[in-house]
Symmetry: C2
Subunit: 262 residues, 2 copies
Amino acid sequence: MKKASPKIVFIGAGNLATHLSQALQKAGFEIVQVYSRTEESSKTLAEKLNTNYTSDIKALLKTADIYFVALKDSAVNEVLSQTDLDNKLLVHTSGSLLLSALNHYSKNYGVLYPLQTFSKSIYVEFREIPVFIEASSPGIENELIQIAKTISGKVSCLNSEKRKSLHIAAVFACNFVNYFYTLAAGYLGKNKISFDVLHPLIKETAKKATEMPPVDAQTGPAVRFDENVINDHLESLKNYPELKELYNSISRRIFELHQSKG
Amino acid sequence: MKKASPKIVFIGAGNLATHLSQALQKAGFEIVQVYSRTEESSKTLAEKLNTNYTSDIKALLKTADIYFVALKDSAVNEVLSQTDLDNKLLVHTSGSLLLSALNHYSKNYGVLYPLQTFSKSIYVEFREIPVFIEASSPGIENELIQIAKTISGKVSCLNSEKRKSLHIAAVFACNFVNYFYTLAAGYLGKNKISFDVLHPLIKETAKKATEMPPVDAQTGPAVRFDENVINDHLESLKNYPELKELYNSISRRIFELHQSKG
């Protein structure tokens, strides 16, 4: 940054805010305040950043330059409608919220969307995370690109519509995938087998998806239509009705997809 | 191995056979023949191993010591019923086939089950793969453990029932997970976005599942019940009925699971 580093306020103290604020601080930005609706969350993050916190939206500092909004989408309007940030740069970090969602609350606004799954306790290497920028003007777009480049090596611009498509794909490839890990772990637990034995398989499955198109990486009883195995597994799952239903429906989808491919 | 290294025949030339036979050969075992019902498959693997091949089950060599059966479960009886291997060591590699499935075809039999997803074109580090052993006698169990240890650093014994539970969990954590990668890739393709941008997310999601219980690693709109995002995504998926139905049902399951956890 050529000019003095902008002062930043974080509105939101969840998983994404926790990682993004720390990455920005490490890159030299001054985080002057953390706001969260729950005092405990704002305090926890503020202590990590050694900065101020509030759970009173009316106590939001007016002296910062950039206000990052990292709230769940359904809370954004409720919180921002209580602010007066018209001359500030307002930046949200959501995959699915339109850029224009901020235009009631400031003249200058943008989006900085890091495409990653964040849990507070798990370290992530921010430089590897793709970050997508959109802004209300070319000047602000450029400013956000410069800021994003201080924390990520993978910065690009993306409009609201494509960002939402990306977010939907991420729900399938991350959130739903993790749900299937959860089901596998729960089932192994009930059968007194440690989930650890699946770790190499989980890592390899992910790695393969980055080395070949996942449609070509498909293995297992469904893709080779090994009826004996499928029926045997469904029988074994008779006391797990939710798992059985999912097993049946996803296996059928996999089989049909690969049949139609020929 | 103290005694002369046993000679091995592979019955089956699919993904698992391809990787296991090469790992065994690299560990010093002699693979003397590959059989597959399709000549092309047996030839392809035999060329990798620089050995003989056949697609005629009656031409199976009688001079080997160990016969690895790496067929889809539904083909095992059909193929083995045409063999005469009563004095040989017969070893299957299936997650779900019972040990006793081999007792019609030899006096000496066992299971060597490598828990991994194998695609012919993707290299895997076999030493990292958990391998599970079961056998018709303690002597054979010990022999298979010794063989498995030459290729894997993670060898243990597991009975047929638990092995099947493990296989079912693997279907969820690998095969179904890969199907969700496939859906994400297909959706991104239709929206002209490269699947590559999801690679860091996919890797991190897998890594997290090895660092914390997946139930605690869950992120995304469903777990935080971000209704705006969920409804918005469902609306965006209106022209993708299969994706929409899955999005809706899996989101509801994630929400309910985490509600019931409190």
